[in-house]
Amino acid sequence: MWLDPQVIQSVPSLLDGWMLTVELTLLGAAGSLACGHLALAMQLTRIAPLRWLARLYISFMRGTPSLVQLFMVFFALPLIGLGGRPMLAAALTLGLNSGAYTAEILRGNMRVVTRGQIEAATALGMAPWLIALRIALPQMLKASLPALVNEFTILLKTTPLASAVAVTELVYAGQMVIARIYTSTQIMLLVSAGYLSVVLPVIWLGRRLRQRAPSTMRGT
């Protein structure tokens, strides 16, 4: 049963799926950072409707299953003329979904930036946007790094959902192979190994960051 030649022949298509999974994760992470920063910025403005919109976005993304969100995005995209692009729908959903969590992580680490620093920067005549860019954000990102890495492992573990809209990432590639050669156990084990090969290093990285984080992270 082991080392079935058909299983070996299917390895290239699984590798293609693996690549697409990694690609989805990176796209999702980029989207997540963008949405997270945007949602945080919206929450910090003086314009109340923007703040409500950000709260609504975060609450919706955290309160509904990502599968439902994926289908909503997938079926909403044709409305703006972008139908038939499952990869776009999947990457967009991952970014939007994870962005809500990223926004919360960043907001939770805002207290790292002490009032005194902001006052000092203001006294030096720095513009508010410059203070945000040069003083607040670098410290917040540094403090948020372990939590963000953790969030990206979760993002990575959400990518198989894309198989539901026929993106040929690792799980879908595996299913197609299973449908062709009828040996499910070995293929599913290969698929699992494929995920472990990405997730375990990321988890390890997150753990190291967490260990190295201590004193500098705490702020005062």
Binding site: F60, R62, P65, S184, M188, S192, L196, I203
Partner: protein, 224 residues
């Protein structure tokens, strides 16, 4: 394309039925996950070295694998070993297996947070282990445990939508059926999203109230 929620009126009973099924699946797998989580905590503390290694391996695997992959593994692999279970059973078991390590982590962290001195004091004045558990550990650990545990259960509730891919009859599966009947995917998924959203919001709110009451009752100061 128009957005018209009226197409759904005929399908409200079906969707409600799906929602009730989702709740049942979640209650079952949530209870199982908690039971298994407690077993994991006890096993790691009291078990032999082999058991501890096995538990650690299981925990590391489930923390690293996506739920969907775990779902397919149980769904495709068990029949290869002659074990053909109904999809709903596979779904409930997989959810429980996936969430148990998280539950175990949460329980472990809450127990670790109870100052050892308070337990030693209980022993010193001759309290029984049961009384120590009920009157010293529980009041201090529960306010820490509950918010994170209900957070996990909310995660489980959201993840239960995934069971639809192995055709377990629950809300998301019903929704897919309604979509193929009405050809109105946006309306259907919008309505379904609202149902999930309302439920998680209610759970969140209830947790916060409960947390506050517990903290007040036991005089434990809450962070935040």
């Amino acid at each position: 394309m128009t957005f018209d929620l009226a197409v759904l009126t005929a399908y409200v009973p079906a969707l409600l039925h799906g929602f009730v099924d989702t709740i049942w699946l979640c209650v079952l797998s949530g209870a199982l996950a908690c039971a298994l989580g407690i077993a994991l905590v006890v096993g790691r503390r009291r078990g032999s070295r082999l058991l501890v290694v096995l538990i650690d391996g299981y925990v590391a695997l489930t923390l690293a694998l996506p739920l969907l992959v775990l779902l397919y593994v149980t769904f495709y692999v068990l029949p290869d070993f002659g074990l053909l279970l109904p999809a709903s059973v596979v779904g409930v078991l997989t959810l429980a297996i996936y969430y148990a390590p998280y539950v175990a982590q949460v329980i472990q962290a809450a127990i670790d947070a109870v100052p050892a001195g308070t337990i030693e004091a209980g022993v010193a004045i001759g309290m029984s282990p049961l009384a120590i558990g009920r009157r010293i550990v529980a009041p201090q650990a529960l306010p820490l445990l509950l918010p994170t545990l209900t957070g996990l259960m909310i995660g489980l509730f959201k993840d239960s939508a995934l069971l639809s891919v192995i055709s377990v009859h629950e809300l998301m599966f019903t929704a897919k059926g309604v979509v193929s009947d009405t050809y109105a995917p946006l309306e259907v998924y919008f309505a379904v999203a609202l149902v999930y959203w309302a439920t998680t919001a209610t759970l969140n709110h209830a947790t916060r109230q409960w947390e506050r009451r517990l903290a007040l009752a036991h005089g434990v100061a809450l962070e935040r």
